[in-house]
């Protein structure tokens, strides 16, 4: 809670400085948000170069709109919404996703009997993953599987788990309901968990 309110205080301060034409406020915001904005754009556009353009375009949108910005939402949510809208309208990428059927998910994650109990209980590997958390192979596998998710799942899991935003912020940015957000997050995590399992228990 303290962290959150400090973050909001700093944002209010940054907005004020930005309106005064303080260049260092812009630099600070770029430092904070640009990498996440590029990641978010990449859920909608194919190439990194285009994602950088989309994010740049959003920064320009921020500069143009800062005087009209009302502190009803956080600056981050506002900025990230611009990224989503620009990325969608850029529409460059129609990435073809590997179709993931839900029954396949259920099967991978579940292996449940008709009565709803585990048929093949999960092998124990959580501790092993926690021990190897920074291993490049794990990170690479997770990056890859996130990149293969349908774009809405990809956007939700990137914002929530990679960048650490709250569910309320994510709903605002992507303009989805909390229930929808949770379903998308659940499916994305299920896929990533299954990929990690394959990685540590091949």
């Amino acid at each position: 809670m303290t962290r959150r309110s400090t973050e909001v205080d700093t944002e209010v301060d940054l907005v004020a400085r930005l309106r005064d034409g303080d260049e260092s406020a812009f630099a600070e915001l770029v430092e904070r948000y640009h990498p996440a904005m590029v990641r978010l754009a990449l859920t909608r556009v194919r190439s990194r170069a285009v994602a950088e353009e989309v994010a740049q375009d959003a920064w320009l949108g921020l500069l143009r709109g800062i005087d009209r910005f009302e502190e009803r939402s956080s600056l981050r949510s506002w900025l990230f919404r611009i990224v989503v809208n620009r990325a969608i309208s850029t529409g460059v990428r129609e990435r073809t996703h590997l179709p993931v059927r839900d029954d396949e998910l259920e099967h991978r994650d579940g292996r449940f009997s008709q009565d709803g109990w585990w048929v093949t209980p999960p092998a124990h590997w959580a501790d092993e993953v926690l021990d190897r958390m920074t291993a490049p192979a794990l990170a690479a596998r997770v990056r890859q599987v996130i990149g293969e998710l349908p774009h809405q799942q990809q956007a939700v899991v990137t914002l929530r788990d990679v960048d650490g935003l709250t569910s309320a912020e994510v709903c605002e940015i992507l303009d989805i309901t909390e229930g929808n957000q949770r379903v998308l997050l659940h499916r994305a995590r299920t896929r990533i968990r299954a990929a990690l399992e394959q990685e540590v228990r091949p």
Binding site: W59, L60, G116, W117, R189
Partner: protein, 95 residues
């Protein structure tokens, strides 16, 4: 109606199954379960080592996802954006 329960103490129809518990993990981690559901979920987790491990795996998955990107801004992107800022301000003041 014939229902086969693997453990007799689960004969109480209100107990949560593993499938239900797994489906609720995301809501649980978001603190979005209602009190009675939360209670049933936690009771299930206490009794079921498999779902307990599954929850640990989901938590580990989230932590690994938080590690996958170094959050450093590339110098080139920083330069481009500062150029953008200065150009915009130049136009803003001259126009």
């Amino acid at each position: 109606m014939k229902v086969r329960w693997p453990w007799t103490r689960r004969a109480d129809g209100h107990d949560m199954t593993c499938r239900e518990a797994v489906a609720l993990v995301t809501a649980y981690l978001d603190g979005a379960l209602g009190s009675s559901e939360l209670d049933r979920f936690e009771r299930h987790l206490e009794e079921c080592p498999h779902c307990h491990e599954h929850l640990k795996q989901v938590r580990a998955t989230i932590l690994v996802a938080g590690q996958v990107h170094p959050d450093d801004l590339e110098p080139r992107a920083r330069e481009d954006l500062m150029d953008l800022y200065r150009r915009w301000h130049g136009e803003d003041e001259s126009g």
